[in-house]
């Protein structure tokens, strides 16, 4: 069984949802507390769940990015471990500089909860899903407008770092971007919630594949 470390910051609120998602795919979840350092070698992969770490105060993800656990996560990144940030987790990864760009207030200035269709553009190191496949799942955020400077946008485009795009851009993200990865492709982040699309009764089970990591 693969061991998955789930980071918990004060205000994280999808932690238990991620726990469920990870268990559904027969992997072993453990909590990683924001104030504590951890040894990356004790795990196979890491997830930063959604929520409102520090209430989204100052900037979404900014205060969480300063936590001690994030120092260990940087170490994990250097060693090439898979790291997956969802929603607030994505915001934290950007604020921590582990992913390029930043997530700003939605174009219409409000929180939006709705279903979206996502297209997979490039493959990350460990996600198994197929290019151009379309996934349906919910998004729910106020700060989900992906922004990156022009020259950097070109760079991530050329490098194939664009992971997922919206079929109908709901929030004004540059290049319809819903998810990206780092250059080494081990760190990925996305705004929509695969953890809310696990069963038909939720409205879709397209999210399951996002927890089906093909870890070597």
């Amino acid at each position: 069984m693969k061991k998955v470390g789930i980071l918990r910051f004060p205000g994280t609120n999808c932690d238990r949802d991620i726990w469920k998602s990870v268990e559904l795919k027969n992997q072993k979840p453990s909590w990683l507390w924001y104030q504590d350092h951890f040894n990356p070698k004790d795990f196979d992969a890491f997830v930063l769940p959604g929520g409102f770490s520090y209430g989204d105060y100052l900037r979404s993800g900014a205060l969480a990015a300063l936590s001690p656990a994030m120092e260990s996560l940087r170490e994990a990144n250097q060693k090439g471990f898979p790291i997956f940030g969802i929603c607030n987790g994505f915001q934290i990864l950007c604020e921590a500089g582990l992913l390029p760009g930043v997530l700003m207030r939605n174009k219409e200035g409000r929180f939006i909860d709705q279903w979206v269709d996502l297209k997979l553009r490039n493959q990350s190191l460990w996600s198994p899903v197929k290019i151009n496949q379309v996934f349906r799942m919910p998004m729910a955020h106020a700060d989900g407008r992906f922004y990156i400077q022009d020259q950097d946008y070109k760079k991530i485009q050329d490098n194939g770092q664009i992971w997922l795009t919206y079929e109908n851009n709901p929030n004004g993200s540059v290049g319809d971007i819903a998810g990206i990865m780092n250059e080494k492709r081990n760190v990925v982040g996305m705004m929509p919630h695969p953890d809310r699309a696990l069963f038909d009764w939720m409205g879709s089970d397209d999210g399951l594949e996002f927890f089906d990591w093909n870890l070597s």
């Binding site: 520090y54 209430g55 105060y57 100052l58 205060l63 300063l66």
Partner: protein
């Protein structure tokens, strides 16, 4: 004319952001006795006369740029 509006939570009102930011900074070893988070608005007003522009800026503030129940503001020419 360009004016800036500095908006802060009233002192007697709980400043939720300030509380969280102060705590985080202090956990990183910074020594803070107080911390507040407010808004900073820059208004570029189409008006040559300083006096009139200032009046306009005040009128805008009062129109709803700040919430007098919980905030105070200061005006500054920039």
């Amino acid at each position: 004319m360009k004016f800036a509006l500095k908006i802060l939570p009233k002192t007697e009102v709980l400043d939720t952001q300030g509380r969280a930011v102060q705590k985080t900074l202090m956990s990183h070893g910074f020594k803070l006795t107080d911390c507040h988070v407010g808004k900073y608005l820059v208004l570029e007003i189409e008006e040559k006369s300083r006096e009139k522009a200032r009046e306009q800026a005040i009128a805008m503030a009062e129109k709803g740029l700040y919430n007098p129940l919980i905030e105070t503001y200061q005006l500054e020419e920039i």
